[in-house]
């Protein structure tokens, strides 16, 4: 009996060891990932830094970009296989007719966007924004956030002057230009605050906007490379485990990867959820933003798309079934 127990224990150990050190047979498969170097893409950064892609048999080439819209552009232009991007650029691309699909949401947060206004321009309440010139990166989450904040506070879209400014130029735009206020996302919120100090007033709300960061690929790529997608997702799930279990180490990785100060990363971390999921809120958000884009005339489309056609469920279902909360 002792021998049997020992044999079982050895067999179990052998299996466990095999599972732990499991390597995908064959040479690594090349992929290109366009990263928005933002804390929101922490899972993708951790997967890259900790070699989880490699473990899954992927040789990942990173394209680092300041924000998600540009990363998505890389995918749309065929320069990258995957992009990490918030839902708003994705919504615009789909409304524009791009055949892309969201593979997974890797970040969710209700905080991270803000309207920063210069006090010296007489802006002390959000109502003071009426008639002011507000810089925003059009087609991004900051654009949607700005519109929501204004609408909630009874300011019509036409009641302000909108200037399209690249996200990484937002802090300088508020400092030097004739811009009265900016609507942006992290880390540019913190960079702007840091740059202007007490000269800015911040308007934020966690109740009017829930945004996500997602991994996106073209539908053609997904159709042709379901294995790469699964491997990508496996690597992201590993990263999720690491982030949950070793948040400090993960923050360090993100800080190093994206070049953002660790303290800033920690602040963002506190209000964010880093989980690989596909839930119904994503669709709700996309639809909401689609209606906003239509009503704002930001898109030529007149109809909210059926986003079920733009979310690839099978990949995550095969990797992390419980995380898929979208019915189809």
């Amino acid at each position: 009996m002792l021998i049997e127990v020992s044999a079982l224990a050895l067999a179990a150990c052998f299996c466990a060891c095999n599972r732990t050190n499991q390597k995908t047979a064959g040479p690594p498969v090349k992929i290109t990932v366009a990263y928005a170097t933002l804390p929101e893409t922490a899972l993708a950064q951790v997967a890259q830094s900790r070699g989880y892609y490699r473990e899954e048999g992927l040789e990942a080439t990173a394209h680092l970009l300041p924000y998600g819209k540009l990363a998505l552009k890389e995918v749309l232009e065929g320069k990258a296989d995957f992009a990490t991007v918030a839902e708003t650029p994705v919504m615009f691309a789909i409304m524009k007719g791009e055949a892309i699909s969201i593979i997974a949401t890797i970040h969710t947060s209700s905080l991270g966007h803000a309207i920063l206004a210069r006090r010296d321009r007489g802006i002390l309440t959000i109502g003071d924004l009426k008639g002011k010139r507000i810089a925003v990166t059009l087609g991004t989450t900051s654009h949607f956030f700005l519109d929501a904040m204004l609408g909630i506070n009874g300011i019509s879209r036409k009641g302000v002057l909108i200037a399209d400014v690249k996200a990484d130029e937002i802090p300088d735009a508020l400092t030097h230009g004739d811009i009265d206020a900016v609507s942006t996302f992290n880390p540019y919120v913190d960079l702007t605050k840091k740059k202007l100090g007490n000269r800015v007033i911040t308007f934020q709300s966690k109740d009017i906007y829930r945004y996500t960061f997602n991994v996106v690929a073209t539908q053609e790529f997904i159709r042709k490379n379901p294995g790469k997608v699964r491997k990508m997702l496996h690597a992201l799930v590993k990263a999720e485990d690491f982030v949950r279990n070793s948040p400090v180490a993960a923050q360090k990785i993100v800080s190093d990867f994206s070049g953002i100060e660790i303290a800033m990363v920690r602040d963002i971390w506190a209000t964010a959820s880093f989980q690989v999921i596909l839930d119904q809120s994503l669709i709700l958000g996309l639809e909401d933003e689609s209606r906003w884009a239509i009503s704002s005339g930001l898109t030529g489309a007149r109809k909210v798309p059926n986003y079920l056609d733009y979310i690839y469920l099978d990949g995550l279902k095969s990797v992390k079934p419980d995380a898929v909360r979208i019915l189809r």
């Binding site: 209700s110 929501a148 609408g151 909630i152 009874g154 019509s156 966690k206 109740d207 009017i208 906007y209 829930r210 839930d279 119904q280 809120s281 709700l284 958000g285 639809e287 909401d288 209606r291 906003w292 009503s295 909360r325």
Partner: protein, 522 residues
């Protein structure tokens, strides 16, 4: 440790395990109850959240004031449940989930308030006014997102409750199984240890017993521990030591006995040698005695012959006197001329008769002393009469009366001449006693009769008997009361030898009223 103590520890551990199982069960019941409470709270929250969605829809669709009030009440109730949940769910993950839930619930309240405010501010119903409508749409989308989040939070709470219940059940099952495994493991270890201890000890005892049984009484069983086996081993060693001492004593005793036996054997050998020497000496002595006996018998016979010669002389005296008288009468007759042929014939006839009588007397004595060659059957009375006839002359000369009283005529197997010599000895002794006693009417009486299949002859006299102090010695050789000139002391000894050794009978003597009586029984 003593086996008894080990068993006591086993019992104590079993009791302790039972207590642990009870505690685990109680703890599990407590956790189960708490998990059920948590599940109920989670269920209430989910139900309330669903009801709040219905109320919200009712409000949005109908602009129903009642629905708005109920929604706020429901929202407040959900907040209370969430606070209650925060007290019940102690797990960090759950608390984080509840914190997110509360946050989303607060957002829901804020967004719904914003929707209400948007409607009241615009003074229009939903759908009137582009901005208000757009704002409401957006807020409703955000609200739905939060509701969805809340649903997920609620689901997580339910899962957590279910997990807590499973955990409680696992605790029960695991605790009981672990306790049993612990008991089994402990029992196994204890049994193994006890078995090993007992086996070792029993083996030591067995080996020790085997060695001691094999004769090694100096072997001592190794004593380990302080249990009953140690005591048994100690007792065994003590027993072995005593056995050793006993064995040594026995060995010494055996040695002593061996020495004694050797001594005895030597003594026996000496004894045998001595015995052989003694036998040789006895044989020699017997031979010597037999030689002496022969000499004695010869002497006795010679004495008897002397006696017989005396008797012959008595027997011959009468006829010799008669012959003398016949010779003198022949001379006188011749002188007186009365000598005639008839007279001579008569005288010669008488002389010849006397001579023949004397010749017959000689023949009788010669036959008397003729040795018997072999056993023959003879009439006892005939031998008695013949013997008494030989002694008749001597008796008459001394005035001794003899009489034979026979009853029947028994015959016996034996040696008649030797039997006659015995009678002659006894009767001669009686005559001597009678002569010495000088009694009036000296009489010798011989009785013959039969007792059973035996012939009995008694010779009695009236000479006063044998003195009691010598009556036991009269048959011993060389014992005589007559003095060396008259007796040899051989007669009665020789007679007893003849009757008892040669003829298988018995010869005894006793005193009767007036004299001695000798009894021959053959």
């Amino acid at each position: 440790m003593q086996i008894k103590r080990r068993l006591q520890i086993n019992v104590a551990i079993s009791l302790l395990t039972a207590i642990v199982i009870c505690l685990v069960l109680l703890l599990s019941l407590y956790r189960l109850k708490k998990a059920n409470n948590s599940a109920k709270i989670a269920g209430d929250i989910i139900t309330d959240s669903l009801e709040s969605v219905i109320l919200r829809n009712d409000y949005i669709r109908n602009d129903n004031e009642r629905a708005k009030e109920q929604w706020f009440t429901k929202n407040e109730q959900i907040s209370k449940f969430l606070k209650l949940a925060l007290e019940n769910f102690r797990n960090a993950k759950d608390r984080k989930n509840i914190a997110g839930f509360i946050e989303d619930q607060e957002s829901i309240g804020i967004i719904f308030s914003a929707i209400v405010a948007n409607r009241e501010k615009s003074g229009l119903n939903a759908g009137s006014g582009d901005l208000s409508h757009e704002v409401e749409e957006r807020l409703l989308s955000q609200l739905d997102m939060r509701v969805y989040e809340v649903a997920i939070h609620g689901r997580k709470l339910l899962e957590s409750s279910r997990e807590a219940r499973y955990s409680a059940l696992r605790l029960v099952v695991g605790g009981v199984i672990a306790s049993f495994l612990f008991i089994i493991a402990l029992a196994a270890v204890n049994s193994w240890a006890m078995g090993r201890a007992i086996t070792d000890r029993v083996t030591r005892l067995r080996d020790g017993a085997s060695m001691i049984g094999g004769g090694d009484l100096d072997h001592r069983i190794e004593i380990k521990g302080d249990d009953e086996f140690a005591e048994l081993s100690q007792a065994f060693n003590t027993m072995t030591a005593k056995l050793r001492a006993t064995y040594d004593d026995l060995a010494n005793e055996i040695q002593e006995r061996r020495l004694t036996e050797e001594t005895l054997r030597e003594s026996e050998q000496n004894y045998h040698q001595l015995n052989e020497t003694l036998e040789q000496r006895i044989t020699k002595a017997v031979h010597e005695l037999r030689d002496k006996d022969r000499m004695l018998i010869i002497q006795g016979r010679q004495a008897v012959m002397g006696e017989m010669i005396s008797n012959i002389s008595h027997q011959w005296r009468q006829p010799l006197n008669m012959l003398g008288l016949l010779a003198q009468e022949l001379q006188a007759t011749y002188k007186h001329g009365m000598f005639s042929t008839e007279y001579v014939d008569t005288n010669v006839k008488k002389t010849m008769e006397l001579i023949q009588h004397m010749s017959k007397t000689i023949d009788d004595f010669r036959n008397f002393f003729k040795s018997d060659k072999e056993r023959v059957r003879f009439r006892v009375l005939e031998v008695i009469e013949k013997t008494m006839s030989l002694l008749e002359g001597g008796f008459k000369a001394h005035g001794i009366r003899s009489e034979i009283k026979e009853t029947g005529d028994p015959s016996i197997n034996g040696y008649p001449n030797e039997f006659a010599q015995v009678l002659l000895n006894i009767v001669s002794n009686a005559r001597e006693a009678l002569l010495a006693a000088k009694v009036e009417d000296p009489t010798i009486t011989i009785r013959l009769y039969t007792e059973g299949d035996k012939a009995v002859v008694t010779i009695s006299d009236n000479a006063g008997g044998i003195p009691e102090d010598i009556i036991e010695k009269i048959f011993e050789p060389y014992f005589t009361t007559k003095g060396p000139e008259k007796g040899t002391g051989i007669g009665l000894y020789m007679s007893k030898t003849i009757i008892e050794n040669n003829m298988g009978g018995s010869l005894t003597a006793r005193n009767t009223g007036g004299g001695a009586e000798f009894r021959i029984e053959v």
